[in-house]
Amino acid sequence: ERLFTGDQVIRVDAQSEEQIKLLQILESEEKWNLDFWRHPVSTELPVDVRVPRSHLGALKEYLNAHSIPFTVMIDDVQELLDQEKAEMRENHIR
């Protein structure tokens, strides 16, 4: 089973069209292995992206370097999935 230990989901609030374009460049770069949950399309909608642990540092550097504001929406994806699984197990037993 695939694990997501240490993966984070970052919420990015792009402030300008230029920042949206920078995010779209990221989207097209496969080597980053990013999973966009909400795509960069306009400054009116947030962008959510699941980032593998191995690329977290680089992504945050990129965002900081371009002064693109972001927050961490999910600190550790696997932690949430473990909780979800435990809940399902409990429900199944019940």
Binding site: E30, W37, L80
Partner: protein
């Protein structure tokens, strides 16, 4: 689950539990609900539609599919709750009685069963189908880029490894083809609603082009009224608009196809997001999500019923 009252609607369930619950629902409401197999998935799982009907033949109908993107678990869970709501409220809800007096409702609760099972067993983040792609190690097609509506245009990928891979040709995915066959052979659907998660949007065509649909003004007004009702329950805010304007240009989507084949009242929902969990919405939010969504769905159904065409 011998009685739908024993079923926990506020929990996520594996496919077999949902399928077995469908049988219970049918057993408890034999005069209203039937279960139809509309075909099989790539991995040979049955695709079941719940049909709500009070009789008649080939009545005008409303289509609803949920969970075409398998990882969007709150959508399948909302489907289970909604199907139960229709069955249990049918005796008491005057507007539902009116709708079902002349129309049928078809609900495909798990539109992508292979993906759903895979998201439970192997990869919680799985979105696509599970069909292999020749010449690639990557598996699956985005079933919401595979419809014959601007297929292959902007906003879909030709890369089999992409999460938005369009597939080799329109309707190449058996899961999509099964729905297309049912809709076309029926020929009398008046509304087509696809339910996704998450970003709190109610959308109408088009996605493959940014030009307005002929019925844009009416669809926009129906959508806004539906969302007003949704918001009235918990204050959840939605945006309303056509896919291209409100999210992004995306070709090969289901509601563009349904609209172009003449089903005017075509809508797509993106259900609730607390801004904290995305696709991993905690199970305790299933019932609030489904409850607020129901208000919008009911508004659309009532409108469709009141505006025959």
């Amino acid at each position: 689950q011998h009685n739908t009252r024993d079923f926990n609607f506020g929990a996520y369930h594996p496919l077999e539990t949902i399928y077995s619950w469908m049988d219970t629902l049918v057993d408890q409401h034999p005069n209203l609900v039937t279960k139809l197999e509309i075909g099989r998935s790539y991995e040979n799982r049955p695709m079941y539609v719940l049909k709500f009907s009070t009789g008649g033949t080939n009545r005008p109908a409303i289509w609803m599919d949920l969970g075409i993107h398998s990882r969007e678990w709150v959508s399948q869970a909302t489907g289970v709750w909604t199907a139960n709501k229709i069955a249990t409220d049918y005796d008491t809800d005057a507007s539902l009685i009116a709708v079902l007096k002349t129309m049928d409702i078809y609900m495909l609760i798990v539109a992508n069963p292979d993906g759903y099972v895979f998201s439970h067993t192997s990869d919680r983040m799985w979105r696509k189908t599970r069909s292999p792609n020749s010449g690639s190690v990557c598996v699956g097609v985005d079933p919401n880029r595979n419809w014959d509506a601007g297929f292959g245009g902007p906003g879909a990928s030709t890369n089999p490894c992409s999460e938005t891979y369009q597939g080799s040709s329109a309707h190449s995915e058996i899961e999509v083809k099964n729905i297309v066959n049912l809709i076309q052979s029926h020929g009398n659907f008046k509304s087509f609603i696809s339910v996704h998660a998450y970003s709190q949007l109610l959308m109408y065509p088009y996605g493959y082009t940014c030009r307005s649909a002929a019925d844009q003004a009416e669809l926009d007004s129906v959508g806004r009224a539906a969302v007003q009702k949704l918001t009235s329950l918990y204050g959840t805010t939605y945006k309303v608009g056509n896919i291209c304007t409100i999210i992004y240009q995306a070709s090969g989507g289901s509601i563009d196809w349904s609209y172009d084949v003449g089903i005017k009242y075509s809508f797509a929902f993106e259900l609730r997001d607390t801004g904290r969990y995305g696709f991993i919405l905690p199970a305790d939010q299933i019932i609030p999500t489904a409850s607020e969504t129901w208000l919008a769905l009911k508004h659309i159904m009532e409108y469709v019923h009141d505006h025959p065409y």
